[in-house]
Symmetry: C2
């Protein structure tokens, strides 16, 4: 069984050992609820699913949408909800579901493993995964396993400083990749471009004040010049961060998940060019940069992969 | 036995299993010689040492000063000498010395392992190593072993692009860490500062046209203001590259070797501040940034560590 606990959404899924989903159920995260209440709601959802399928999970994986202490199997904090400091999520879920084998990790690592085992990274034991959505997270796969570093903090590619002194980031620093290429940063750069009067013929001008990253990507795919330029700039920032990681780790595959990664060619074509431009020739030649394959099931299947690992 | 083959220097050393050097001999690399001639000269040196010590090496490690294909145990090329493309160095040394167990790797990986096993990284299974000298190389230690990536190209932190469109690098790209913080880049930035008339009272002005990185570091340690500023800028560039790697890999130690790393506090104090400024708080808190401990024996002891691995 895979459980996906995010700041806005919850999901539970049952899968076989090949990662085929037998059932999946989704819900909203009650932002006023305590961690115990949220775990209880998710456990209800999971138990109902098991009852309907007459299945008992052999193991449970949890993808947690925030920094996690893997060694202690506890949360560190949550950037979206209150009261999630040091919550022993693994133990709570084990007790609620009556399953012994429970493994939790942050969503970057879970999704990385899910893509490596079941998705766009299959066959690649050396892989880098990025979630590019509201924030930018990541996971490092080494020898087919999640690499967590010295204190469970590996994979934080979203906070690579790309432009020193650049725009402020959620982490309090300036010019991080997340502050330049995440969903909110794309929207911000588009608003700035519109405010500066760039390409007055662009459809983005009519959306001033309410531009979203999704709208920028859609307009770019539809051929809008300004939206296309903003996606090329996004690709350039992502390319700088990814190329640094490709030089350091020499993966054979980089997988991009999250909302922004659904943008298609308007992102991936300039992104591949940027990685080739900024990485060493040998390292660039050894890697392919592709979109995630698991879509919205990435969190649940990542959790399943954790349970199977 | 450890062999160190560089563009300008050769060395051979015999060590016990604890990394204690029993003997070491050094020579110059004959720039006009073929790879076969250089291997023969090094083998002579090594055999003479074995004869004098009445020792027979159980295994031989080779630290090679250029890109190497670890899987094939061949050189890829050499940035300093001609004719080093695809040389089966491991096999040649095995034949020349009559030793079966021979392992070669590039000097970044060899020195990284040497520091991890015998030097400043002892006790740290998750470690990052940088050589900061004429170029900037590196090695990634994961689980106490060299991590080589998908095609033997991991560890190339010197080519992290720090300033897009910045000064030209030896790799043909622009704004790489190597083009901003290596020995020749420090000298270039110092010459530029002098040419621009920065701090006319600085002792660097009297050295115009022949400033070396070593002179900048010495003057900085002696309290010269401009030299100090140039070392702070160097630390800032290095800090950006190291912080990106610290976010991605979460090592518990970063070890800096090479000539520039001998600079002392004028480099390491601002470098530690820069890493703390540019890396995530948790990742920065988990890591210590220290100078290499093995000094000029780093290559030979790194090769010994390869032989023992």
């Amino acid at each position: 069984m895979g459980l996906d606990i995010g700041g806005t959404k919850l999901a539970a899924g049952l899968a076989d050992e090949a990662g085929r989903l037998l059932a999946v159920e989704r819900g909203e995260t009650d932002r006023g609820a305590t961690p115990a209440e949220i775990v209880a709601a998710l456990a209800e959802m999971a138990k109902g699913m098991c009852a309907r399928l007459r299945a008992k999970p052999q193991a449970v994986g949890i993808s947690y949408g925030g920094p996690a202490d893997f060694a202690r199997q506890t949360t560190i904090t949550c950037h979206h909800l209150q009261g999630w400091e040091g919550i022993p999520l693994g133990r709570m879920v084990a007790a609620a579901l009556g399953v012994e084998r429970v493994v939790m990790d942050n969503d970057g690592n879970a999704c990385a493993l899910g893509e490596a085992v079941f998705g766009a990274g299959r066959g690649h034991t050396e892989m880098l995964y990025l979630t590019v959505s509201s924030g930018i997270g990541g996971g490092v796969i080494i020898g087919g396993k999640v690499y967590r570093g010295a204190s469970s903090m590996a994979g934080e590619i979203g906070h690579t400083v790309i432009v020193p002194g650049g725009p402020e980031c959620t982490c309090g620093r300036r010019g991080c990749l997340e502050a330049l290429a995440s969903g909110w940063s794309i929207a911000r750069r588009a608003e700035e471009a519109v405010a500066a009067g760039r390409q007055p013929g662009s459809t983005l001008h009519a959306m001033a004040g309410k531009i979203t990253a999704q709208a920028v990507a859609e307009q770019a795919e539809a051929g809008d010049g300004l939206a296309g330029e903003i996606m090329v700039e996004t690709a350039d920032y992502l390319g700088l961060g990814i190329a640094a990681a490709v030089n350091l780790l020499n993966p054979s595959r980089v997988v991009l998940g999250g909302g922004v990664a659904k943008a298609g060619d308007c992102l991936f074509l300039p992104l591949r060019q940027a990685v080739a431009r900024y990485a060493l020739a040998e390292n660039a030649a050894a890697v392919s940069v592709v979109p995630a394959a698991l879509g919205d099931a990435g969190g649940v299947l990542g959790a399943v992969a954790l349970a199977l690992a």
